[in-house]
Symmetry: C2
């Protein structure tokens, strides 16, 4: 069988995180491993009504093939929603996709030849790493700081790549409550990143799955809103705010780049489900997503706070141990003493009744073994406290054993 | 901008058929150009109920992320439906995809390196050509006969490719009521194709979008049902029978090949919409798709017959003009005298108030210019007769002008 596989497929492993998620689902385990939104935060009753109406009455459109660009009514609603983030978008600048993961696939397909270089955070979203890998690109990691990617390090890396004659294509960033760190990029760095992209003739691929999930602090405008040179492509997903199962996102960018995505999407799947696009458009035309998210944000804020307080309460008082304090999104990132390998720690944690995602899966350079990702989205506050207590015990035991060993 | 594009994208044009479809939509034109199913044949009222129930009550699954393999309940229903075609399938042999077009994308992605060779009909489905092209494969065309692909010609082509040292990967076929010709492959040829695949160590990619749309003649078993060597991958879509807008299909094949598709699908879009999978599973658990299709088949049969009768009645009595007589599906294929170029004829036809798809778009070798595809799915019988009358006039005028010129 293997002789039939393409090089790109031989090159692409199954996501290690998926395997970890399987283990985490064992009964009795408190799992901080998944990255799932809480389905109770979705407006399921109103979506059910919207679906009934759209499928029953508008079947000539909602059950039929549609434009590759996406249903115009859906795109218009997305434009209105995104205007909340200080950003004007025209209909020709937006294409509907089956989630942001497909957007990553289309971007990789449209722009990456084998050996092309992209730049991404250390750490960054594992699904993006997989997508770039599938298209045989070389991903160059750039350290993350408390206010987003280290842009000096980025420039150094870019110069080195350019000097070596490799073709650099884009910088991939998740500016708000990054997966996996929860870190948000400052406004200053957003503007600076545009300058760097211009100077070195690169695109910026901006991934914003947590738009609308800021529960604290000041909203930052998307990097795209600062773009005056047609270099930024932004993915905006409904998976965390309206429904993950409908698989809906849009990509926003300069017309010529969106055109390229339309061309490859045509050959990829003709069009995104018109059924789910019409359901979402129906719901959005009668409801304000930002208003609906008031409760969702409150839910995530509360869980985040419980997790931070529990970390404070149970984790050992050790200056080598730290964690991020996200202002939105679903994740907290914990850094442990350097000698700890969280891949090993994972098995001990599962035995101890708690699960997380080891950091290494988010690193393109083999690093991150001293870190781990915690997700606070779906659990009850008391489960979060209990889980962190268990995890703290595992960490303490591990550190004691190590210092003895 | 162009400097950012990947080689594969520079290589891939927009579908010329899409451009033709735009022109065909001008008001007042009777269009045989599209290949759309008739939305009135979809069970929209019952689907609306199913959607209401699944989204309202089962939102924890229907609005949440799902397995990359697809929702098991949906796959079980598809297995039951496909068992009608004399075929036993286990759950590990089936993956849900966003329509067959995505299945083509996944197959190309998993199996094709640049320069790899695939074999396909002359003519064949244009969307498949686009997909293979996007992955920089070389598509070798094999003439179609009245009972399917010319397998002697196929063997000659395979030998030539092998001799030249190129890597051949698979044969792509649409065995039932092929798009665009309407031709069905005989049982004898299905069995023979398996033998050829074994002999030359190739896979077979079987595309069956018109399963369930046979309105005449004896049902043929899928090629996959004859496979005793793990070489056949079959795509089966719901787009023509339950809803095109839900974008649902499955791929059935040997476990190791399905595994490869799961791996690439993970990086491609994580999973197919759980929302539409649950809606389809709900509907299918309460209804027999084959029973529902009784009316659909009757509708298509009637339209096909009207089109054949009209061709007989209005087209010039010229032995150089012929057309196929499909026993199912949506298309009739017309061959005109060799000197006619249907790309030119198209503009004359549109002026004359009727549209079709010129044959060249379905040929990987630049041929087919004397042929055209007619779709009879969505029109009323009187429109079909009128349209064929108009087309016949255009053809006659064209032939007269040519013989004078």
């Amino acid at each position: 069988m293997r002789s039939f596989l393409s090089e790109r497929t031989k090159n692409t492993g199954r996501s290690s995180i998926r395997e970890i998620l399987k283990v985490s689902k064992k009964p009795g385990i408190i799992s901080f491993a998944g990255g799932l939104p809480k389905p109770e935060t979705f407006p399921f009753d109103d979506l059910a009504e919207a679906a009934h109406k759209q499928i029953g009455k508008n079947y000539r459109q909602s059950l039929q093939y549609g434009m590759t660009e996406g249903v115009p009514e859906f795109r218009e609603e997305m434009i209105e929603w995104l205007s909340n983030f200080g950003w004007k978008i025209a209909l020709d600048n937006i294409i509907a996709t089956n989630s942001s993961q497909q957007a990553l696939d289309l971007v990789s397909k449209a722009f990456l030849d084998p050996g092309d270089v992209i730049f991404c955070g250390l750490p960054t979203y594992a699904g993006a790493i997989q997508s770039f890998q599938l298209f045989q690109a070389r991903s160059v990691g750039v350290p993350m700081e408390a206010d987003g990617m280290d842009l000096n390090a980025l420039e150094t890396e870019i110069r080195q790549v350019k000097k070596s004659g490799q073709r650099a294509k884009f910088v991939y960033v998740i500016p708000d409550f990054q997966n996996p760190t929860g870190v948000t990029m400052s406004g200053r760095k957003r503007r600076k990143l545009i300058k760097i992209a211009k100077e070195y003739d690169l695109l910026i691929v901006e991934d914003t799955p947590y738009f609308g999930l800021r529960f604290e602090g000041k909203e930052e405008r998307p990097i795209n809103a600062y773009d005056d040179d047609g270099r930024v492509i932004t993915m905006s997903s409904l998976s965390k705010v309206l429904s993950a199962g409908m698989r809906l996102a849009v990509v926003v960018g300069p017309e010529d780049l969106i055109e390229a995505l339309v061309t490859v999407k045509q050959a990829t799947d003709l069009c995104t489900s018109t059924t789910t696009q019409w359901i979402a458009a129906e719901w959005m035309s009668h409801h304000e997503l930002s208003e609906h998210l008031t409760q969702t944000r409150e839910h995530y804020r509360k869980n985040r706070t419980v997790m931070l307080e529990s970390l404070e309460k149970y984790f050992p008082d050790d200056e080598r141990i730290s964690w991020t304090k996200p202002e939105g999104g679903l994740f907290i990132w914990v850094t442990l003493p350097e000698k700890v390998d969280t891949d090993d720690l994972f098995s001990e944690a599962v035995e101890g009744g708690v699960a997380f995602v080891p950091g290494s899966g988010f690193y393109v350079n083999g690093g991150g073994r001293d870190s781990l990702r915690l997700c606070y989205s779906v659990l009850q506050p008391d489960e979060i406290e209990k889980g962190i207590e268990l995890l703290a015990e595992v960490v303490k035991r591990h550190l004691t054993a190590e210092s003895r060993g």
